[in-house]
């Protein structure tokens, strides 16, 4: 287990690659609670973090896990927690706290069948809308997905980078297939990927307003202990961080949350196009299903069908500006998902006149290339 040496090829599970990605991104704190199929992340973190001077703690439940993660991040340390459906449900309230306090952190949800205890050892993609809307209130959030071991490594680094840069919690959706599939990976050298750290205040403490707007909409963030004694609250707050009920301050605060993300769409919205240039039919997929979709479009191409794939890494903010041209160009788009249609709705919303077809499985089994191929033949 583990693959600390860069340049060495080793065999890792998706869950293990998330750990390596997190460590590479500078994560030095993990708090969580055991749950299938995410536990390997905690296990490996408990081994690796103390080696690099970080800290791991197994908390009494997932509520405590994310609480500790937010606390550690406020103390200036990049932090991660990992869970699956039931634990992710428990985390929702504190997730909102991370949103309103603009605290960077990464939350991995390895999706399994639900609702409730559901199918602990089988894959599903039923938590997509929960990831977007699970915590209450109007809030932006970033949801990324992974489809392979290499993805698990690379997208985890992106997740931390975006979280730090925009001061926002990032949810990383994996699924049981990706989490437990072992693939070969060569951990790149540190010089080969970018690591982004949150911007800290440069002004003297008496000039520091922790939530003051700027052109990016992302205020610099002081860590507890840095000498900038400030207040953090889950109440809507003014630029000083103090609770406010003034409508103008509330509105400015809420809108800034969205503006800062909108400003970053071009780098936040990550997708990959495969054989889309001349495609007249497209599959839009994410997570492990995108692997089946990739094979299905190759099968279709062999039969002379001009099929292409739009693989979504970013699910939210939904990359509508990338999806839209695909919908305009193709006579039909297929969205296969291991749910009854969550991303397919988002796709449909982009262009109501486009032909958007669904292919769904709810039985705890990965959708196969054959199924997608067969469906493509009917479109």
């Amino acid at each position: 287990m583990g693959c600390e040496q860069s340049g060495k090829t080793c065999l890792l599970q998706g869950n293990e690659a998330i750990v390596e990605g997190a460590l590479a991104a500078g994560c030095r704190f993990f708090a969580g609670y055991p749950i299938t199929p995410a536990s390997e992340i905690a296990e490996l973190m408990s081994m690796r973090l103390p080696e690099v001077g970080g800290a791991f703690i197994q908390m009494e439940d997932e509520i405590a896990g994310i609480g500790a993660v937010i606390g550690a991040s406020l103390a200036g340390v990049k932090s991660l927690t990992a869970t699956s459906g039931p634990g992710f449900s428990l985390m929702q309230e504190n997730l909102g706290f991370a949103c309103i306090t603009e605290t960077p952190c990464v939350i991995v949800n390895v999706m399994r069948g639900g609702p409730s205890t559901g199918l602990p050892t089988s894959p599903a993609q039923g938590d997509v809308m929960q990831a977007r809307w699970g915590t209450h209130g109007t809030h932006p959030i970033i949801v990324l997905s992974v489809s392979s071991v290499i993805d698990s490594f690379e997208v985890t680094i992106h997740a931390f980078n975006i979280s730090e840069k925009y001061r926002i919690p990032v949810i990383l959706l994996s699924d049981e297939v990706v989490a437990h599939t072992r693939e070969s990976i060569t951990i790149p050298d540190k010089s080969e990927f970018e690591v982004v750290n949150r911007i800290r205040p440069g002004v003297p403490p008496e000039w520091f307003h922790p939530y003051e707007d700027n052109s990016r909409g992302v205020p610099p963030m002081a860590a507890f202990g840095d000498g900038y004694r400030h207040h953090i609250t889950g109440l809507v707050h003014d630029v000083h961080g103090y609770p406010t009920q003034r409508p103008d301050e509330i509105d400015a605060f809420q809108r800034r949350q969205f503006r800062k993300i909108t400003n970053g769409f071009s780098e936040i919205q990550m997708t990959r196009s495969v054989m889309l240039d001349d495609a007249d039919i497209a599959v839009i997929a994410y997570g492990s299903v995108s692997r089946s979709a990739l094979r299905a479009i190759k099968m279709a191409r062999e039969r002379g069908i001009k099929a292409g794939l739009l693989h979504l890494t970013t699910l939210f903010p939904f990359p509508r500006r990338i999806v839209d041209p695909v919908l305009r160009k193709c006579r039909a788009v297929l969205v296969p998902e291991m749910n009854l249609g969550q991303i397919s709705r988002e796709v449909k919303r982009v262009n109501l006149s486009a032909k958007v077809e669904k292919l769904n499985r709810l039985d705890g089994q990965l959708i196969t290339p054959e199924e997608i191929f067969e469906k493509l033949l009917t479109l």
């Binding site: 090829t9 297939v177 094979r295 190759k298």
Partner: protein, 195 residues
């Protein structure tokens, strides 16, 4: 499809070391043979005794779909696993069974070796999976025997290296006694074969 996927499935009961065996094959192919691999498994909630299935896909190119589509190679360590996991077997695939526990064979493209009995004779029933890996190394064209042996010895506890290398050698030797070319080329007649 224009690729060279080689698809392997191992089936047995929980505790027989099926998943570990598949991980070792994947490691041999990835780390020592520098091929693309994808290794997956499925298991029930019970830690011991339930059916367990592990798969490895090996290719010289990046692997899209990570699981087995049509098996080139099936290793079945008991009858229940064989019955459950024989589906998706390619007509020209190769079935290897542990004849200690398997009596009914669904195909004539089969090689039967008593892995568990051999392991008992070596002194530890627990190394039946390594005996089987010895046979895999000899019979499976997608992974080299050398790499597989290295991967086995790299994974096992240092104190058991000697026992495990004997187990691996015993499996390889038993497999060497079979002539693959004497097996029927395919389990379906030529004219019925689809590409």
């Amino acid at each position: 499809m224009n690729d060279d996927r080689y698809e392997i499935r191992f089936g047995g009961s929980g505790g027989q070391g099926i998943i570990l065996a598949a991980v070792i094959v994947a490691e041999a192919a990835a780390v020592y043979d520098h091929k693309y691999v994808s290794q997956t498994q499925s298991y029930g909630p019970e830690a011991r005794g339930g059916k367990s299935k592990a798969e490895v896909v090996i290719s010289s190119r990046e692997i899209d779909y990570p699981k087995v589509i049509k098996m080139d190679f099936l290793l079945a360590m008991n009858q229940t696993a064989l019955d459950a996991y024989f589906y998706d077997f390619k007509p020209n695939g190769l079935l290897v069974v542990d004849s200690t526990f398997v009596e009914q064979l669904p195909t004539s493209r089969v090689i039967a070796i008593p892995f568990t009995r051999m392991a008992r004779e070596l002194g530890r029933e627990l190394v039946a999976n390594v005996v089987a890996l010895g046979a895999v190394g000899r019979l499976c064209p997608a992974v080299s025997e050398d790499s597989l042996q290295k991967a086995v010895l790299n994974r096992v506890p240092p104190k058991t290296v000697e026992l495990n290398s004997r187990a691996f050698a015993a499996g390889a030797e038993a497999a060497a006694a079979f002539d693959l070319s004497s097996l029927p080329r395919s389990i379906t007649p030529d004219e019925e074969q689809e590409i």
